[in-house]
Amino acid sequence: MKKNKSIRIKTGHILTGIIVFTIFIYILGIQTQSKPLLNENENSLIELDKDSFFDSITLKKCFVLFYAENSELCDVMSASLSKLAKNNQGKTGFYKLNLDKYPEYDLKYNISGVPNIFIFNEGIEVARIMGVVPEQNLEKIYDKMFN
């Protein structure tokens, strides 16, 4: 008669799994940071300035990307948001504002880092997306907020 030998999952096994998974995610995260970027011509985000900012955010629901120059992460988010903009043209505004040129918005909206995407509804901030998120997340957020 065969003896039933079942594996008992112990705390040590799970802790090892957590450590291994954390290291795996760290390595994978570094490798996936560089992505193909859009050309300047393909970027469908509208550049805002001090004069056009308030009019643009109060007109309709919109996404505003606060970015800095020469930032690879900001370029990645700009490309992701451009793709979302191309799929949802006309319904929602997609804008970007250079914080290096207009640093007063940094203090006004308490922006701790870039890239930072603000979602405005009639001029009021409803959500903010910090850092680099995948395109699928942006689509899910868009569907949750506007559909």
Partner: protein
């Protein structure tokens, strides 16, 4: 006969690790809900806003709590 033994092994595995498996499942569900409402907006660390990363962490930490409760 062989398949009956395999089924007995699976049932025995589930019976022995019941609390850990329940913890893993609960952890994964809570992590998914947390991702849907909070993590989806936070990309401050690499892959921190990915659904599968959050769910696997929830799965593992849920299992850890389950193993400690045993």
């Amino acid at each position: 006969m062989n398949s009956k033994y395999k089924i007995e092994q699976i049932v025995s595995f589930i019976r022995i690790n019941k609390k850990v498996l329940i913890g893993m499942l609960t952890g994964a569900i809570i992590a998914y809900l947390y991702w849907l409402n909070y993590s989806i907006y936070w990309g401050t660390y690499p892959l921190s806003s990915e659904c599968w990363v959050n769910c696997i962490y929830g799965f593992l930490f849920g299992g850890l709590i389950g193993s400690l409760l045993r």
